[in-house]
Symmetry: C2
Subunit: 350 residues, 2 copies
């Protein structure tokens, strides 16, 4: 099965996505028909410039004072983590790795902004993000600064967004590799976002495994985090690959996840303030952010319902099969060679 | 691999196509956006009523005299076969089965029409069909009777049809299971067409195998056919399943092709005069035709270029794998049972 799956990685690039590792750029918004035909249908990302130039947010949100004033009476969900990695794998004393969610604190927006902006690397990293339609609830005072939906996308999908989320963070926060069951339009308002993207066909390369769920609990008294495993144990399937390992762990990570590190490079793009990324449903993505001045990166993303169609059925089929077939007598010799090279993986991704 | 592939057959029906075996019907043409979103993107067939009611062909082509007169100076490609099965498997003395193409005769249209209409079951079956854009070449005198393209489809696909073909035949002619690398809009003008349809996910159920190519040669002197194998031998991958075996061969066919006969029933539809079938790219289809009065069935089909995208890559991946994995020691007992029932197939469809 190894060769057939690797041929799939290669073919989807040769036929549709390209081999450059770059994401197609449009200088102006597509029509709904073009967007549907050229991007949604082939499940292909793109970056669109000049799609949100009319948003008041592009200028007003660069002033933290404007945000503080407009949201002065709002309470928001702030995510606190020790290192900026929320919804990510973390070591836990009683198990090797767990899936760690942030400590979520509801605080007045002005406090949230201070906690995000002020540097507490030794204490915690704060990130305002709550993927529950928060832009239309917690942040509703900002509604007039952005469009309530992306017109040409809404027309293409045939429905309003299911959720609109706001993200306010600094370069200290990042999001680990995962996929969403939504079509995503990601508009960056200030700062910039750096994405690594892998198509759904590459699912085996992320080594999705079940990890016990845990949640950080931050104590304002001691200034320390506890990482509490959920009881009863709940398992979350999550991508195992950290695409940016430290120099010390690099060799180890490569040997644990050879399909990621030795396979085709992920698609890589930076989405700047004023640009919109179309992140197709089921694409794996890893996100970092930053800005030249070390200031805030603020983004609004629109989640539209995806179609659970033949593409989704094919994905589930692919995910359900082993990266290689069980060895048959004839294959024994060949397999032994491959195992010696460390280039073999027999993990069932289900 | 058996279970994973069968789960795919089932899931694509549950999620997208439905389990009724019926093809969705639209009472009026969709907009290009609706067509793209609801049918092209999910690779899902539909039948559209009231889409070609304005075509003069709907009334004028019911009169053979009109056709004879309009095409009085045209020469057309007429396909002759012994039984009405062209581009189909046929027994050959020197090999078990071959892929047999029709004897193609270029004749004045009036002669063609006579040969199609008059019953020569003991001599040959004639079918006017040539899938080389014949409606815009051999039959260009009829151009004014139909639209040169299907407006909402052209808008959705973003390009004019690559080919437009005309088909004139009787119930004696049928087309064996196959797939095309085109998006297809099939407009029936007189009579009716009966389709059996299977989605691309079901590729293993058609037992695609390589057959040596052959061509019928009809002798007007002797009134007999020769079936000549191409030299040098050329192999054509073709579906092995005849969905309508005779009563005598039924049991044998079921035991040879259990995945077809014991799996989910194909989608079945009748497209009547004035209706249009959207037959998505890569769908397997078997076509019969007929009309209540035993007269002509005439259809025009528009082939639009398909997108070779992630769906196509997934299809090739699926087709490249065996229906079941090589047996592992643990599976031996289970497999033996299955082989005994005759419900197992180890054919590699490549």
């Amino acid at each position: 099965m190894k060769e057939e799956i690797e041929e799939l990685w290669s073919e989807v690039r040769e036929l549709s996505l390209g081999n450059s590792g770059r994401v197609e750029r449009l200088e102006s918004p597509p029509t709904s028909l073009q967007f549907l035909r050229n991007f949604i249908n082939p499940n292909k990302p793109c970056i669109i410039s000049n799609a949100i130039t009319h948003w008041p947010a592009l200028s007003s949100w660069t002033h933290p004072s404007y945000l503080s004033q407009t949201l002065s009476s709002s309470t928001v969900s702030l995510h606190l983590t020790p290192t900026g990695a929320a919804d990510a794998l973390a070591p836990h004393p009683s198990t090797s790795l767990c899936f760690a969610s942030a400590h979520v604190q509801h605080v007045p927006f002005t406090d949230a902004l201070n906690l995000i902006s002020s540097s507490h690397p030794s204490k915690f990293v704060a990130y305002a993000q709550q993927q529950n339609d928060c832009f239309r609830s917690e942040y509703s005072s900002l509604a007039g600064d952005c469009d309530p939906h992306i017109g040409w996308a809404t027309e293409a999908f045939g429905a309003q967004p299911e959720a609109v989320n706001l993200w306010i963070g600094t370069q200290q926060s990042q999001t680990s590799f995962h996929k969403d069951h939504y079509e995503n339009l990601y508009a960056v308002v200030t700062g910039e976002k750096h994405f690594l993207l892998l198509p759904p066909t590459d699912v085996h390369r992320l080594y999705i495994r079940d990890y016990p769920a845990a949640t950080y609990k931050y104590s304002w008294d001691t200034g320390e985090f506890d990482l509490e495993l959920e009881k009863p144990t709940r398992y979350v399937p999550w991508c195992s690959v950290d695409p940016y390992p430290s120099r010390e762990t690099l060799d180890d990570e490569i040997s644990k996840f050879p399909l990621y590190f030795n396979g085709p490079r992920p698609f890589e793009c930076t989405v700047k303030a004023g640009e919109v990324l179309y992140l197709p449903s089921m694409w794996f993505h890893h996100v970092r952010q930053g800005s030249d001045d070390g200031g805030l990166t603020i983004a609004v993303n629109y989640w539209y319902d995806m179609q659970f169609d033949i593409k989704y059925a094919y994905f589930n089929f692919l995910q359900s099969i082993h990266y290689r077939s069980p060895p048959s007598p004839l294959m024994h010799e060949k397999l032994s060679e491959e195992i010696d090279t460390g280039a073999e993986d027999d993990y069932d991704t289900r």
